[in-house]
Subunit: 188 residues, 2 copies
DNA sequence: TGGCGATGTCAACACTTGTTGGCCTACACT
DNA sequence: AGTGTAGGCCAACAAGTGTTGACATCGCCA
């Protein structure tokens, strides 16, 4: 153990969080009910309230998300697009937190605020390390493509986007991100 | 009038649809209540049921959407990306139907099905007219970028994406779409 | 004028939701 | 052993939901 001994409550607390992430990811904020989450975690709904206060706070705790972007300063400037594309695709398979956040952000004010924070605080600095100018704009453009993938591949599940293999998808998306990151600003 | 004389019921029916589009676009499927829609339309909730049967059918009627893609066969093959980018940005300002559809599609099964239909039936053929091969894949890629814009600019409202002017946005997005449409297939 | 269908309102139903407070039980510590 | 407290359950509340059926009213046509 890295910290102190695990109390029994921490176990169920973690079970609640896991169930919450799953439900929020699958059903969105409003359709994910506290009763269903509690049932999945094998406990009473009132326990959820005791540990997290209310539904909004539960969501906030469950939707903690780290993009875990790689250190862009260690790679050559012209492969960063490709590497970034590969990373986000990998990052979103096997973690439903981003899907929970995305699904909830479409109807929930707190979730959309969290989403803005994540992209400003995590994507922004990474872009700043490689972009020659217009950092915010370039980060925004990257977000459009990257969230567009998340939306169509994992939420809407558009068949051709789902059908693409990881390598094929990365090969298509990589150059786009590269251009958004390092191409000269087009005349507006 | 092109058709027969307008019955009085058609007027309120249209008022209901307008209110529904607005509410669905702003709140998403579950948070948009029939009572609120009826109040906006200035009538009783039961009228909504009489005219549309239930909430799902009301949504289906309100979320009828036409991309109104321009005829791509009349333009030169290397400007189609730019033109397409301009079109979708214009199409989404001033029509909240797409936003209603997008917000609802994230939690509602019928809405996501409608979304798939729209992109298969409307975007697919347009892509087929200019793409050398892999039509479905290319259409899917276009969808990722185009819906990514819709998501980040009109739903999440990420500040840098909102701040971009129409021309600047089109100048950035155009080449991306162009590449997805006509560039040779990258080796997977 | 009488009547009848279209248009609309009112009140209620059955149900689900988030949320609360009281009660029970088991375990740790003295 | 006794006891206090953390962990957990049960039942209920108040509010809001989609939906329904009975009743009122307007406007047209014979």
């Amino acid at each position: 153990m890295t910290t102190t001994k695990a109390k029994r409550s921490d176990t169920t607390k973690e079970a609640i969080l896991a169930a919450a992430r799953e439900r929020f990811a699958e059903d969105g904020y409003e359709r994910a009910t506290i009763r269903a989450i509690a049932a999945d975690a094998g406990i009473d709904p009132s326990m959820v309230m005791r540990y997290f206060g209310n539904k909004e706070k539960l969501f906030a705790a469950a939707a903690e998300f780290d993009l875990r972007l790689p250190d862009v300063t260690t790679m050559s400037k012209d492969e960063v697009g490709h590497r970034l594309a590969g990373h986000v695709v990998d990052r979103w398979d096997g973690d439903e937190t981003l899907m929970a956040l995305l699904r909830a952000a479409v109807t929930n004010t707190a979730a959309v605020e969290r989403m803005r924070e994540i992209f400003a605080a995590q994507l922004g600095p990474a872009v700043a390390a490689v972009a020659p100018d217009a950092v915010a704009t370039r980060a925004g453009l990257v977000a459009t493509q990257v969230l567009g993938i998340a939306l169509t591949r994992y939420v809407l599940r558009l068949p051709p986007v789902v059908a693409m293999g990881r390598e094929e998808l990365v090969a298509w998306i990589g150059p786009t991100l590269q251009r958004y990151l390092t191409d000269p600003h087009p005349t507006a």
